[in-house]
C-alpha cells in the first residue's frame, strides 16, 4: 500500500456533481496545512454527464499524478456505480465512502444500458475491501439546504474517516474562502453532516467487532 505518509484519494462521480470542485477544496486545504499534494483529473468531456474521475495524492514524494491500480487509500464515490468503475484502484485496506443516491444515465431510459442494484454494488466492493461506508449524501445535502452540496457532504465524510493529514478546521477554511455568506453556511452544515455520519458508522463498526 501507501509509502511513508502518502495517502491516495480517488474521488469519482458523474458530470455536474461537483467532483472537480471537491478536489479543489481538498487540495487548497492540503496546501494550507503544508501537506504536499498532487492530483489529476479529466476535464471537459466529463461536464457533459459522463463519468468524472479525480485523484489527489497527499504527502509522500510521488511525482506521478495518477494513483496506480491497487494503491488507492480512500475512494469517495459521489455516485455509487462510479465506485465500481474504479474498483481496480482498490486494495484490501482501502476505505470506500459511497453516496447512495444514484444518477441514472440516459442510456438506461433508452434501454441500452442496465444499472446495478445497490446491493450488488456494495457486495462487489466488499469482494475487495471490508471498509465500505454508505451514506445518503444527497439527502443530507438537501437537509443542509442545497442539493448541490452533496459533494461537500462527501468531503465531510472523507474527513470523518480520520485518515486525512489535514484538520477539519482547515477544510472548513478552504470551504469558506470559496463560498461566502449563505452558501458558505449551507456548505459547512453539509460538511458536518457528512463528517458525523461517517464517524458514527466507524464507531458502530468498531463496536461490532
Amino acid at each position: 500500500m501507501a509509502k511513508k505518509s502518502e495517502i491516495n484519494i480517488i474521488i469519482c462521480g458523474t458530470g455536474g456533481q461537483g467532483v472537480v470542485l471537491l478536489s479543489e477544496l481538498l487540495g487548497t486545504a492540503a496546501v494550507r496545512d503544508g501537506v504536499a499534494v498532487k492530483g489529476s483529473e479529466v476535464l471537459g468531456m466529463a461536464q457533459r454527464g459522463g463519468s468524472v474521475f479525480s485523484n489527489l495524492r497527499l504527502g509522500g514524494d510521488v511525482i506521478a499524478p495518477m494513483t496506480p491500480e491497487g494503491k488507492c487509500d480512500v475512494l469517495i464515490a459521489v455516485e455509487p456505480s462510479e465506485a465500481l468503475r474504479n474498483i481496480q484502484y482498490l486494495a484490501k485496506n482501502s476505505v470506500v465512502v459511497l453516496n447512495t443516491t444514484t444518477v441514472l444515465p440516459y442510456t438506461v431510459y433508452l434501454g441500452s444500458s442496465g444499472y446495478p442494484e445497490s446491493k450488488d454494488i456494495v457486495d462487489r466492493l466488499h469482494e475487495v475491501t471490508d471498509r465500505v461506508i454508505t451514506l445518503d449524501a444527497s439527502g443530507m445535502a438537501k437537509q443542509a439546504g442545497s442539493l448541490q452540496a452533496a459533494n461537500v457532504v462527501m468531503l465531510g465524510a472523507l474527513f470523518g474517516t480520520g485518515l486525512m493529514p489535514i484538520t477539519e478546521e482547515t477544510a472548513k477554511e478552504a470551504i469558506l474562502s470559496r463560498f461566502k455568506a449563505k452558501v458558505g453556511e449551507i456548505n459547512i452544515k453539509a460538511f458536518d453532516l457528512g463528517y458525523e455520519a461517517v464517524q458514527k458508522a466507524l464507531k458502530s463498526a468498531a463496536g461490532k467487532r
Binding site: G39, V42, R48, P65, P105, L110
Partner: protein
C-alpha cells in the same frame, strides 16, 4: 483559481507556493518569462493555459488573442518573434497539424524568443488521435522540452524563452493531459521585468521563403541543431543518477519519469537501478545517455506512446558501439497512457522481483465488474440547441430516404455536437477532424448517388469551414451544409470567436460569408423552432447546388449564466402523466378483452423467464393453457409487428408460458362474505365470474346443465384443439377455491330461475348460445341434416355418430371448421365446407382453416345454400348457387349475391349446419321475459344489468355467438358489477377501462429487419388419422424466446428515443418525466411529443 493567503498567479513572490492546475503553472511560467504576445486556438488539454493568460493579459500589458485557427495563431506569434518580442503559440496536438506549414518556416528561419506549446493527449481523452508530437518536432528541427510535473512545466516554460533566444530557434514545450490537468502545489519563480518594444528589422534573405533563401536557412538550421545537441547535457532537466552495482538502467522522459520513479520506489529498487531522467527528448542528451548505457548491461526505456527516446537511445548505442540490451516497446504498450502498473510489470520481468501488488487479481475483479457498469457516455447538456439541430437533420434525412429510397450521407465534425454521434441521435456517418465535415462532403457529393448533409459548429466554421464551403461552390459540390451556431466555442470552455465576440456589432455573420461566397441557398433558423428548421432543411436537401443552413441558438450553459445574471427565472418543462402514453397499454393489450399485459409477459419470455411470464399472465387470466390454445387473438390483429412482416405469435407464446412456466396456485380468498351468488352456466363467462367473485370472498354456486364444466370449450371445441384434461385441470382452480358446482342441473327444468332469485343475493346468467341457427332452406328438417353444435356435443360426450363417405358442412366460422376436421377424424372420406363468402371473410381462425385443408377438407367458397335434396325423407344432396360479393351488410362484410343460373348439387348423405348459434332462453319466464330482445338477453353494456334487480347477464347469451375471451371478459365485468351491487356502491362509475379500445401509441417500425414468424410444430397429418390427439404441439423454449424477441415492446418513448436528453427520465410509474434540476426549459421535447403531453411548468 485558488488562493493560499493572497498569492495569485500574477504575484511577484518568488519562493511562494501556489496550488494550481498544470496548465496554470505553464501560464505562470510564461508570465515569469515576461511573454508579451500569446496566440492560440482552444483545444483540450491546452485551453486553460490561454484562458489564464487572456484573463491577466491586461494586467500585465501582455497581448493575448484567441486566433481563428492554429495556423494563424502561430503566424501571429512568429511575427512577434521576428519583431524581437517574446511570443508564445499554444495549441493541442492536432492543432500543430494545422500550424505545421508555418512551423517549418519558423524553424528554418531561426526565430529566437518563440515557443510553441503542444498539449498532447495520450489515451485520447478528448481527441481523435494520440499523435506523439515529439516526432513532429524532430521532423521540424524544433527542440523539445518535456516536463515531468507541473513544477517542471512552469520552470521549463520560464526557461524556454531564454533557451530559444540563446540558440535562435523556436522551442517546443510538449505537455500531456496528465500534466496540464494535474494539480499540485508549485513554487513560484521571479517575474521578468523586461518589456520590449516590437521592432521590425529587414532581413529578407532570412525571412522571405524563396527557395534560394531557405536553402541557406536549411544549412543554418542544421548547424543550430548541432549546437543545441551539444548543450542539452548541461541542462538541469536531464539528470543521471547512477547506482553502484546496478544491473539495470531506466531512461524516462517527461511524465514517464514520474511513472518510472514511482514504480522503482514502490518495488524498493531505488538502490538497484540507475536512472536517466530526460527533459529534452529532442535532442537527446547524448553524453548522459552514453554514460548510462556504458554502466549497465540492460536498459529499459520507460516511454509513453511512440518509441521516440528509445530509437534515439538505440542510435547512440549503435554509433558508440556500446553493448547493452535495450528494452522499451517490447515490454510497454505503444497504445494509450502509460501507468505505474505497466512499468512495475516490466521491471518485475527484468529484475526478477514480484510486482508490488497482485495485478492479476485486480484484473479479475475488474473483468467481473464490467457487466455491472452502466453505460455512461458524455452527452450534450439538457437544453443544448445542437440536440434540436441534429434531430432536425435526422428527420430530414429519414423523410428523404422514405420518399426516394436514397439514404443521405451525414458527415460530422469536432465540437460538442460530436457527442450526438452516440445513440440515440447517431448524427455522424464519418467525422475526421476540424472542418473535415464540409471537406468530406465535397468528395461524397461527386461519387455517391445520395444527398450529403454536413454539419459543424460556428467556431469550427471560422476555423476551417470556409474553404471547403467555397470549394463546394467553386467545384459544384451539391451538398447541404448546416452550421450549428451556439455563439461560442463550447467544448473547450466557451471561448469567443469571430462570430461570437461578445459584441453583436462586431460579430461576423456566417450567413453573410456564405452568401458572399456564392452559396445560393442560405437560411438562418432558430434551432428551437423545429417545424421551421425541418422545413428549411427539407428544402435545402432538395435544392440543386450547395445550400447552407445556420441553426442558431445560444449555448444552454451560457444561456443559464445569463439568466442567473439578469435574474430571469428558468422554467423547466413538465410531463402531464395523464397525456403521456409511456407505459400505457399497447395495441395488443388495448384490444384484448381482458387487457392482459402482453408486452410484459412476452418481454419476460424474451429473457427466458417463463415462470415470471406465467405469474404475470395469471394476475389477469387464470386460464392461460386454455386460452393459449383456442383464443381468437384480437391482439394479433393489431400487433404492430405486422407492419414489418407478420404479427408476433402472441397466443402461442401464452401457451409456451403455460407449458414451461412453473406456478404455485394461489388459493387465498379475501375475507369470507355472507352473500351468495349464483351463476347460471359453467362456460367461460360463468367460470370467470365465479373465480373473481369467490376470490373476493363471496359464496358462489354454478349451475351447469351439461355433465361437465366449460360450455363451448368443453363440448364445442374438439379435443384435438383443446384436450379435455388440460381444460378440466385448469378450470379446477375454481373448485379448489370453494365454488360449489352443480353439474347436470338445467335451470328452467331441474331448478327454476325464480327460486334462484329468491335463494341467492345476486344472479349471473351466462348460458351461452348453443342452439344452432337453421339454414332457412327447403327440406332442412329431413333426416341427415344436423346442427353443428349438436354434432360436436355428441362427439365430445362420446355419443356414436354414423359415419359415411361424404359430408357437407355449411358455414365459415370456427364451429364449421371444427365439425369438418372432426368428420375427417371420424372417417368421412369427402369432407366439404360450403361457405357463401370468400376465404378472407371466413370468421374462423386462419390457422385452423389451413390445418383443415392440410387434413384434406375441401373448401367450396362463394357458394350459398339453395335447398336440401332429399329422397324418401333422407338427404341425398346439397343444392348450392354460386355467389358474388356485393355491398357490405350489417356485419360489415360484403353481402353475397346469388349469380343467376349457377346452381349445382353436391352429393352427400349428411349435412352439418354451422351457420351461427343463438341462446336457448326458454328458462327465462315471468318478469325475466322483459329482459329478452330479438332472441338475446338485454344487458347494459357497461354494468351487465338486465333491468331485473339483482340479475346480471353476459357472454354469448347477450351478444350472440362470439368468442371465449369476450365471454371471460364479460364474466369479469359481471363480477365487478355484482360486487358493487352487493356493497351498495354505484355500478357505472369508473368502468371505462374495462372496454376494449384503440391504443393511441405511435410506434415506429422503420428500419427493422424482417424476421419470419415462428412456425408452430404440428402433429404430421398422417399421424392425425382416426384420432383426436392435439394437433398443435407448441414451440420449443428456444423458439419461444426467439419469437418473443420479435415483439417490439410497443410503448411510447418518443421523446427519450429521439432526443436522448439527460433531463428526460422515466418515473416510478413508468411515465416520462422531466428532471427539473437539469431542464433549462428549451421546449424541444414538447415539440417532439406527438401527444401534447409536455408543457412548461408552473
Amino acid at each position: 483559481m485558488n488562493k493560499v493567503a493572497d498569492i495569485t498567479i500574477t504575484s511577484d513572490a518568488p519562493g511562494a507556493r501556489l496550488f494550481m492546475l498544470g496548465n496554470e503553472a505553464i501560464a505562470r511560467g510564461a508570465i515569469e518569462a515576461g511573454v508579451q504576445v500569446v496566440a492560440s486556438y482552444p483545444g483540450t488539454p491546452s485551453s486553460e493555459i490561454t484562458n489564464t493568460l487572456v484573463g491577466i493579459a491586461g494586467e500585465l500589458g501582455m497581448y493575448a488573442e484567441w486566433s481563428v485557427n492554429e495556423k494563424v495563431a502561430l503566424e501571429v506569434a512568429m511575427a512577434a518573434a521576428i519583431s524581437g518580442v517574446r511570443s508564445l503559440a499554444i495549441m493541442k496536438h492536432v492543432g500543430v497539424n494545422v500550424a505545421h506549414d508555418p512551423l517549418m518556416s519558423a524553424s528554418y528561419m531561426g526565430l529566437g524568443g518563440l515557443v510553441l506549446i503542444s498539449a498532447d493527449d495520450p489515451g485520447q481523452w478528448s481527441s481523435q488521435n494520440e499523435q506523439d508530437n515529439r516526432l513532429l518536432a524532430r521532423q521540424a528541427y524544433v527542440p523539445v522540452l518535456e516536463p515531468c510535473s507541473a513544477q517542471e512545466a512552469k520552470d521549463m516554460m520560464a526557461d524556454a524563452f531564454r533557451l530559444s533566444e540563446e540558440f535562435g530557434q523556436i522551442f517546443m514545450l510538449r505537455s500531456v493531459t496528465r500534466i496540464g490537468h494535474a494539480r499540485s502545489d508549485v513554487v513560484l519563480g521571479g517575474i521578468s521585468k523586461d518589456k520590449r518594444k516590437g521592432k521590425f528589422v529587414k532581413d529578407p534573405f532570412r525571412l522571405v521563403c524563396l527557395p534560394a533563401n531557405f536553402r541557406n536557412n536549411r544549412r543554418l538550421v542544421v548547424q543550430r541543431m548541432e549546437k543545441i545537441k551539444k548543450a542539452v547535457d548541461e541542462l538541469p532537466y536531464n539528470h543521471l543518477t547512477l547506482k553502484e552495482g546496478a544491473k539495470l538502467g531506466v531512461i524516462a522522459s517527461g511524465i514517464s519519469y514520474g511513472y518510472a520513479l514511482e514504480a522503482v520506489q514502490w518495488m524498493g529498487l531505488e538502490d538497484k537501478i540507475s536512472i536517466l531522467k530526460i527533459g529534452t527528448p529532442y535532442p537527446l542528451p547524448a553524453e548522459l545517455t552514453k554514460q548510462l548505457l556504458k554502466s549497465v548491461p540492460e536498459v529499459l526505456v520507460v516511454e509513453e506512446l511512440e518509441p521516440f527516446v528509445e530509437d534515439a537511445v538505440k542510435v547512440v548505442a549503435k554509433d558508440e558501439d556500446i553493448r547493452v540490451k535495450i528494452h522499451g516497446k517490447d515490454l510497454l504498450s505503444l497504445v494509450g497512457e502509460l501507468s505505474v502498473r505497466q512499468v512495475s510489470e516490466a521491471l518485475s520481468g527484468l529484475v526478477g522481483v514480484e510486482p508490488p501488488i497482485d495485478f492479476a487479481q485486480i484484473d479479475k475483479i475488474r473483468a467481473e465488474t464490467q457487466e455491472l457498469l452502466p453505460l455512461r457516455p458524455p452527452t450534450m447538456c439538457a437544453g443544448c440547441p445542437h440536440r434540436a439541430s441534429v434531430y432536425a437533420i435526422n428527420i430530414t434525412c429519414r423523410r428523404y430516404q422514405q420518399e426516394t429510397g436514397k439514404e443521405p450521407v451525414k458527415t460530422g465534425d469536432i465540437g460538442c455536437y460530436a457527442l450526438a454521434a452516440n445513440p440515440p441521435l447517431n448524427s455522424d456517418d464519418v467525422a475526421i477532424c476540424m472542418g473535415g465535415s464540409f471537406g468530406l462532403a465535397n468528395g461524397f457529393a461527386h461519387v455517391v448517388d445520395a444527398p450529403v448533409v454536413a454539419h459543424l459548429g460556428d467556431s469550427t466554421f471560422f476555423h476551417s469551414g470556409i474553404p471547403p464551403m467555397i470549394n463546394a461552390v467553386y467545384n459544384k459540390s451539391d451538398i447541404t451544409m448546416v452550421v450549428l451556431d451556439n455563439s461560442t466555442t463550447g467544448m473547450t470552455g466557451f471561448q469567443p470567436h469571430p462570430g461570437a465576440t461578445g459584441d453583436e456589432t462586431l460579430d461576423i455573420k456566417i450567413e453573410d460569408i456564405a452568401r458572399a461566397s456564392g452559396v445560393k441557398f442560405v437560411e438562418v433558423v432558430d434551432a428551437f423552432d423545429l417545424p421551421k428548421l425541418i422545413d428549411i432543411m427539407e428544402k435545402a436537401i432538395r435544392f440543386e447546388g450547395p445550400s447552407l443552413v445556420v441553426a442558431r441558438r445560444l449555448c444552454s450553459i451560457l444561456d443559464a449564466r445569463e439568466k442567473r445574471k439578469t435574474g430571469e427565472k428558468v422554467v423547466p418543462y413538465e410531463v402531464d402523466p395523464e397525456k403521456c402514453l409511456a407505459g400505457s397499454p399497447p395495441y395488443c393489450q388495448a384490444v384484448c378483452p381482458l387487457h392482459i399485459d402482453i408486452r410484459g409477459y412476452v418481454g419476460l419470455i424474451k429473457e427466458g423467464k417463463f415462470d415470471e411470464a406465467l405469474a404475470l399472465i395469471k394476475q389477469t387470466l387464470p386460464f392461460p393453457a386454455i386460452i393459449g390454445r383456442i383464443c381468437t387473438r384480437p391482439c394479433e390483429s393489431k400487433c404492430k409487428r405486422s407492419e414489418v412482416e407478420e404479427t408476433v405469435a402472441i397466443n402461442v407464446l401464452k401457451r409456451a408460458a403455460s407449458d414451461y412456466g412453473k406456478y404455485k396456485d394461489d388459493y387465498t380468498i379475501a375475507a369470507e362474505k355472507k352473500e351468495k351468488v349464483v351463476v347460471v352456466g359453467g362456460g367461460p363467462a360463468g367460470i370467470m365470474a365465479a373465480y373473481d367473485l369467490r376470490k373476493a370472498g363471496y359464496k358462489v354456486t354454478i349451475f351447469e346443465a351439461l355433465p361437465k364444466l366449460g360450455g363451448m370449450m368443453a363440448v364445442g371445441i374438439p379435443e384435438f384443439r383443446l384436450p379435455g384434461d388440460i381444460l378440466s385441470e385448469e378450470m379446477d382452480i375454481i373448485r379448489k377455491l370453494g365454488v360449489e358446482i352443480k353439474l347436470n342441473t338445467r335451470v328452467g327444468k331441474d331448478v327454476k330461475l325464480a327460486g334462484l332469485k329468491k335463494d341467492y343475493d345476486a344472479v349471473f346468467i351466462a348460458v351461452g348460445a348453443h342452439r344452432g341457427r337453421s339454414l332457412g332452406i327447403e327440406n332442412e328438417k329431413v333426416d341427415g341434416v344436423i346442427d353443428g353444435t349438436e354434432f360436436l356435443y355428441k362427439v365430445n360426450t362420446g355419443e356414436k355418430v354414423p359415419v359415411q363417405d361424404r359430408v357437407v358442412v355449411v358455414g365459415g366460422g370456427n364451429v364449421a371448421i371444427d365439425c369438418a376436421r372432426t368428420c375427417v377424424r371420424l372417417g368421412f372420406k369427402d369432407v366439404n365446407i360450403v361457405y357463401r363468402r370468400s376465404r378472407t371473410e371466413m370468421p374462423a381462425i386462419a390457422e385452423e382453416i389451413e390445418e383443415a385443408e392440410r387434413e384434406g377438407v375441401k373448401l367450396t367458397l362463394l357458394s350459398g345454400p339453395n335447398k336440401v335434396v332429399a329422397v324418401d325423407g333422407k338427404v341425398t344432396g346439397f343444392e348450392c348457387v354460386k355467389m358474388k360479393l356485393g355491398e357490405p351488410d350489417e356485419s360489415g362484410r360484403r353481402r353475397p349475391v346469388p349469380v343467376e343460373g349457377s346452381g349445382f348439387v353436391i352429393d352427400t348423405g349428411l349435412i352439418i349446419a354451422a351457420v351461427g348459434e343463438s341462446p336457448d332462453l326458454d328458462f327465462m319466464t315471468g318478469d325475466m321475459k322483459s329482459a329478452i330482445t330479438d332472441g338475446l338477453i338485454k344487458a347494459d353494456p357497461v354494468t351487465l344489468e338486465t333491468g331485473v334487480s339483482g340479475v346480471f347477464a353476459g357472454g354469448d347469451a347477450v351478444t350472440g355467438a362470439a368468442t371465449v375471451v369476450q365471454a371471460m371478459a364479460a364474466g369479469r365485468k359481471a363480477a365487478v358489477s355484482i360486487d358493487r351491487y352487493l356493497k351498495g356502491e354505484p355500478l357505472d362509475t369508473g368502468r371505462e377501462g374495462e372496454a376494449v379500445f384503440e391504443s393511441k401509441l405511435i410506434v415506429d417500425t422503420w428500419g427493422i429487419a424482417p424476421e419470419a414468424k415462428a412456425e408452430v410444430p404440428t402433429l404430421p397429418v398422417a399421424r392425425r388419422n382416426g384420432n383426436f390427439k392435439e394437433v398443435e404441439l407448441g414451440l420449443s423454449k428456444e423458439d419461444a424466446i426467439k419469437e418473443a424477441k420479435r415483439c417490439l415492446s410497443c410503448d411510447c418513448r418518443i421523446c427519450i428515443n429521439l432526443l436522448g436528453c439527460p433531463a428526460l427520465i422515466v418515473d416510478e410509474n413508468g411515465k416520462a418525466a422531466v428532471d427539473d434540476t437539469q431542464c433549462p426549459g428549451c421546449g424541444v421535447c414538447a415539440q417532439v411529443c406527438p401527444h401534447d403531453a409536455i408543457k412548461p411548468g408552473a
